[in-house]
Chain length 246, copies 2
Amino acid sequence: MQELELTHVDCRDCPIRHRAVCARCEPDELAQLEEVKYYRTFEAGQTIAWTGDRLDFVASVVSGIATLSQTLEDGRTQMVGLLLPSDFMGRPGREMATYDVTATTEVTMCCFRRRPFEELMRTTPHISQRLLEMTLDELDAAREWMLLLGRKTAREKIASLLTIIARRDATLNLAKTGGSLEFDLPLTREAMADYLGLTLETVSRQVSALKREGVIELAGKRHISVPDFDRLMLETGDDCDGGMPV
Amino acid sequence: MQELELTHVDCRDCPIRHRAVCARCEPDELAQLEEVKYYRTFEAGQTIAWTGDRLDFVASVVSGIATLSQTLEDGRTQMVGLLLPSDFMGRPGREMATYDVTATTEVTMCCFRRRPFEELMRTTPHISQRLLEMTLDELDAAREWMLLLGRKTAREKIASLLTIIARRDATLNLAKTGGSLEFDLPLTREAMADYLGLTLETVSRQVSALKREGVIELAGKRHISVPDFDRLMLETGDDCDGGMPV
DNA sequence: GGAGGACTTTGATTGAAATCAAGTGGGCGC
DNA sequence: GCGCCCACTTGATTTCAATCAAAGTCCTCC
């Protein structure tokens, strides 16, 4: 899974260390980055960009959750990317957004003006090398997601999503809750459905079924606890040679 | 869509110009590449690598078609990548294959030994910049594929696959057939099913339906001709503002 | 505290694709 | 030329998830 790369070199006053751009930069390179950097906050539900909009920044998610989604003519939508803190958004070299980008919670982003950022990439190999690694990770994640969309049952899809969120949550919040795993679902049932290629009713039914069978416990609608992570993993349909989260 | 980037700088005796590594390289950089380069041919049906195998080269597809696929515990498989000539295979920095790579036709690859290639990337920013662009293109393709897998009907999936192949075919074989578009399906019905997250029976039924309705014409099992490309595009479910192939 | 609304659950029914099961047809070796 | 195999087609039936429909729950704002 993706790991935060925490190094001795920080992005100065940045709340998180940017996985994208800071890990291997020298102080003077960072200084250049500082010059084209600014923060921006989006409220929950706000659209950050529509497909086709001009987008003249790239950014690193500092806090909150954003989604990328695509839509067919008749309005069916599929989520194609989930941006959690430390994820990168935007594509150097492209003027237009090619996805709808939406903040599902309040989101703070550390933005870099696109033109100067592209210029910087040209002169600072670290940055494009780091971006390459991150993009390759995203591609791997997208391919796992394709397996989920194409071949998993509704139940397996739900179990998979829960393990994905649990894992990401665990790597982000280094604090652990001991034996059993707990986390808040950062997505509505509808957003989960858009992620999984299901309807929200099916999501609800399958979550209920997993709860009924004791695979997960629900406190409220959104707080999940997993008494036995291996049990949940069994439900994903995956070859689960890769072990526990963290 | 992805374009061949043909420049004045060739990879010497290489049958195709590597999109990945040559486009912007200087002659002396190419010379270094030549030193770690070799050709390899795989026969149709041959497995190039299993998930978990050690893979000590990266490569550019010269001719033929290879697929990347993933499998669940119980054997359900999903294709997650389709490698056509000029596509890049392998991941710098990773020792193991994370997908099953299979040659569906006879495939010739231009391989680069991984270690020295990685070393070269470190010293030659062109290469990682070009790889970043290609990887971003692949990510875009993967996301379009996710929309297909998650939200399209069987009929729309077939129509989409046909337009994808037609487009790729048209960009590769610069020769055109005038008005109506013709091409050979490079995949069996089963491979199409693995691509689309369907069963081979459903693929067969939907291809028959499109033929019955005159959207496509079939000569033999594999040779397709499309009398009206726009008509086919209408069947894909996409917002088809993006125009004709080539 | 109560009304309204967003989000969620649950139920009944339908429908698209999977599954199970025969076929067909063409290419190839003998 | 014959038969065999492989890729493909077609048909009958089943199943899982979508759709249509109605409540239930929680939170916010008066």
